[in-house]
Amino acid sequence: MRVRTTSAVAGASALLLLTGCGAADMTKQASPFANARGARTVTLSVQSWVGAQSNVAVAQYLLEHEMGYRVDTVQVDEVPAWDALSQGRVDAILEDWGHPDQEKRYVEDKKTIAPGGSLGVTGHIGWYVPTYFARQHPDVTNWKNLDKYADRLRTPESGGKGQLLDGSPSYVTNDKALVNNLKLNYQVVFAGSEAAQITQMKQFAKERKPFLTYWYSPQWLFEKVPMTEVKLPAYQEGCDADAAKVACAYPHTPLRKYLNADFAKTGGEAAAFLKKFKWTTADQNEVSLMIANDKLTPEEAAKKWVEHHASTWRAWLPSA
């Protein structure tokens, strides 16, 4: 018995020595892989969609090749990413689609996250049908006529109704309320991940089958599978305030960047660079398409883009 007690005490004191005495601050916990071997590192969070990967790939490439940093990336969903950002586990989110609750909690109240300015890209969510289908049936592009096509959009998963394909559970969506409040004969089927959704859309497109899906721009898939947006009742400020009563389209959202508050102050050149990082939808799509369609690694895609757009990114570097 004594042996165990002694070793427990020894273990506990070793732990204390290791961690330093006093309180252990859970808000200041970097990744164990950060700053290995004395390198200056930045940890960026990547969300699951390819546009977010493109931002990170280009930022990573420039930080590594132009500024001498080492960059770690961590894949995190949107809401947990805010939490990770506030704890310092990641240093920056480069593409945020608007999370008012999180903004209030972390930016205004706790001040652990600092705004990093605009990304330069405007995002928009909507319902889409493939363009080949919209050409044959131009009236499908208005929500009022959707019920007419419910039969043709039926799948084994949609239980006799038409299928509205939704994606990852992490995305901002009012679709269930919309179907309900617009009294549409549709069933929302959640693909569970964007990867599954894209795979399914590509399979449909290969056979030129009709489908109706939740989708968003900017998105590289539009280049591969041209899609036309379905008109929903027009968006007005505040019409989506009550999640259960939503009956209008999604807004156009200027995408924003956020930095960990400490990193924003002490992150030096890297923080300054990330704040200045700003490009266009076309730029982002160019990189995304190389990653997702040409199957280049994010690094190769970023390299290609960087080689051809020096004038854009030179302005982001701290010396400029």
């Binding site: 961690t19 916990q29 969903d77 084994p156 693909a191 569970g192 990867a195 599954a196 997702a292």
Partner: protein, 648 residues
């Protein structure tokens, strides 16, 4: 009295004759209970789905708990002085191991690994180990492999220490053993996906949360096998030691622990395997390393890249499995320690040489890119099989038919059944196969699902599990019988099963969507792929272990091979087959849940949703329902003797 008819007629047909008498008694008793209870329940709450009056809505309290944690995480003493330290300790130790691995360089790490394998398991394994590590580098995965290895070392050490302590307590005290067994049972049937959320909420995204979730998952086999080893120690030896006047501690250290070495090593082996399988699931909560690469590749629908990160995981698993298993078998062989010294010197020399040459990082020029060709193959396959295959139709058609003809009726049927009849069926099944205790646990678990308000989605998940288990058993038993018949077939099969079993599920989630479309069918397909190896292995072993004398006797009486199989082998291998069913069910549930990522819906989707949105109420209730469902399924299929390990 629908309840009585279902509970008496269904299970009896599957029972062997000798069980019929006690079975009838049990069923009659259940029927009496039902006769009293059902009219009451029926009058009170009407029919159909779980009565609303019997549910507890946890949305409010759970939401508030989540907010409290986030608001107090940087000020409350509980976090400052406890969780904070735990988290820091994990980060520091993982970092220490990672820096050590980086400092050794790729040459050093490979040399050390090969030499350890050589000493523990012989030359062949050593060569295999070296090749495996070099392959990780060739695939361009050196740094992520080292990150995963660092996390694994810390997680496995923590699991082994925790498991060994629990096992020691259970091995030395009968009371602790009894108290601990249900806890370990529960920990083993928990699908890891279900408890990621609470860990994340306390520790935040990242390595500490991942390590802790892994420890919960990987510690039970160690605890179980340690207890088993201590309890099974040879009585004679113990008595001899006691008669020599050894104290209790001396007995433990000099006799019981050394005698339990084999079990301890097997426990280590199992713990490592479980921890590795967790490495990928933990990537959902930001563990980094190989799992994260697989997960990121999945996001861009890049099967090739996912495979490039998945192969190192398979290689690590195979290497660690072979080395620890071989070490267990070679225990007790007389060996001197001098070769260890030479081995250490060689390893250090190689590491230093690597450093001096300035080749610490794996050179970029040596990376082989496999992603592109793999993707071409996958595209070709999915392109040609998805639809329009002459005569048999494409995979999309099969998936559609499977959904419409099997999954839909099964789900609708289960959801249509009155809730009390579900409880009675569960009770009857569990009681007939196990004891009244297992029946009680199963019924309580099922009732808890109703109380949590997750009745409908749980039955949806259950229908997917049942369909997947049925497919798995048909395929698994057929393959297992074939493998038991032919040595050559089994040899060919073994590496395939190894790969199926250790390849992270995330790698094949996208191909199954490309083949079967979004929905429940791909989730079922992925579950079948994952659970098949265990069922095949257990079936083969069970059939092989059948007493040769009995077979010889049957053959001498002129039984055909089919008769031998049906009348001798299968009845005698019944315990193994039941175990295969049990393992199949537990494994299938784990993947059906992950199927939430490909449109499986139900509980799996709720867990993913909870994780993605930080929604404790949705995620935790679904997680708890999964745990209850797992417990229920485990108890209903639990043969009298429990399996030692999960997933192998």
């Amino acid at each position: 009295m629908a309840a009585v008819t279902t509970s008496t007629s269904v299970p009896r047909t599957v029972l062997p004759r000798r069980l019929r008498h006690p079975a009838v008694g049990k069923l009659l008793l259940l029927a009496v209970v039902a006769a009293v209870f059902v009219p009451l329940a029926d009058a009170r709450w009407g029919d159909g789905s779980w009565p609303h009056a019997l549910t507890v809505d946890l949305t409010g309290p759970l939401g508030r708990a989540g907010d409290w944690i986030i608001d107090n995480r940087d000020s409350h003493p509980l976090f400052l002085y406890f969780f904070g330290y735990v988290s820091n300790a994990v980060v520091l130790s993982v970092r220490a191991v990672y820096l050590l691995l980086l400092a050794a360089g790729w040459a050093g790490v490979t040399a050390v690994a090969a030499l350890v394998a050589w000493r523990a398991a012989g030359v062949r394994t050593a060569v295999g180990t070296g090749v495996a590590f070099l392959a990780c580098g060739l695939l361009g995965m050196w740094v992520p492999t080292m990150q995963t290895l660092a996390v694994m070392v810390v997680a496995v050490l923590a699991s082994v220490v925790l498991g060994a302590l629990l096992g020691l307590a259970a091995g030395l005290s009968d009371r602790t053993h009894r108290a601990l067994r249900p806890v370990l049972d529960t920990m083993q049937v928990l699908p890891a996906f279900a408890y990621l959320l609470p860990v994340v909420l306390v520790f935040g995204i990242g390595v500490p949360a991942a390590v802790l979730a892994t420890v919960v998952y990987a510690a039970p086999p160690m605890a179980r096998l340690t207890a088993l080893g201590l309890r099974d120690a040879d009585e004679g030896v113990l008595e001899a030691v006691a008669s020599l006047g050894a104290t209790a501690r001396q007995r433990l250290l000099t006799a019981r622990l050394p005698l339990a070495r084999k079990e301890l090593l097997l426990g280590l082996n199992q713990t490592i395997m479980m921890a590795l399988s967790m490495a990928v699931i933990a990537s959902v909560i930001g563990a980094g390393g190989l799992g994260d690469r697989v997960y990121q590749a999945l996001a861009s629908v890049d099967v090739g890249a996912a495979l490039a990160a998945g192969i190192p995981i398979v290689l690590l698993a195979v290497v660690l499995d072979r080395v620890t298993a071989a070490a267990g078998e070679r225990l007790g062989e007389a060996r001197t320690s001098t070769p260890w010294v030479y081995a250490a010197i060689t390893a250090v020399t190689v590491a230093v040489a690597g450093r001096l040459v300035g080749r610490l990082d794996w050179p970029d020029a040596w990376v082989v890119h496999i992603a592109e060709p793999v993707n071409r193959v996958v595209d070709w396959m999915t392109g040609h099989l998805y639809s329009g295959v002459p005569y048999i139709g494409g995979t999309a058609d099969w998936a559609g038919r499977f959904t419409t003809w099997v999954l839909d009726p099964l789900r609708d049927g289960l959801q249509w059944l009155p809730w009390w009849s579900v409880l009675l069926t569960v009770a009857a099944l569990a009681w007939l196969i196990g004891t009244w205790r297992t029946a009680l646990t199963a019924v309580l678990a099922m009732a808890a699902i109703g109380v949590l308000g997750a009745w409908k989605p749980s039955l949806d998940t259950l229908s997917q599990v049942l369909a997947a288990v049925a497919v798995t058993l048909v395929l698994g038993f057929a393959t297992g019988i074939a493998a038991a018949r032919s040595e050559r077939f089994e040899r060919l099969l073994r590496p395939v099963l190894d790969v199926f079993q250790t390849m992270p599920q995330f790698v094949y989630l996208i191909p199954v969507v490309a083949l079967f479309g979004v929905g429940r069918a791909p989730a079922v397909a992925a579950a079948v792929v994952y659970a098949l190896p265990a069922v095949v292995r257990i079936t083969t072993q069970g059939l092989r272990a059948v007493d040769p004398a009995a077979l010889e006797a049957a053959r001498s009486l002129g039984a055909t091979p089919a008769q031998q199989l049906r009348q001798v082998q299968i009845p005698l291998a019944r315990p193994a087959l039941l175990l295969a069913v049990n393992q199949g069910v537990v494994l299938v549930l784990a993947v059906v849940i992950i199927g939430g990522l490909v449109g499986g819906g139900a509980l799996g989707y709720d867990v993913v949703f909870g994780l993605a949105q930080g929604d404790l109420a949705t995620g935790l209730v679904a997680g708890a329902a999964i745990v209850c469902l797992g417990l229920m399924l485990d108890r209903v299929t639990q043969p009298t003797r429990r399996s030692v390990k999960k997933g192998a």
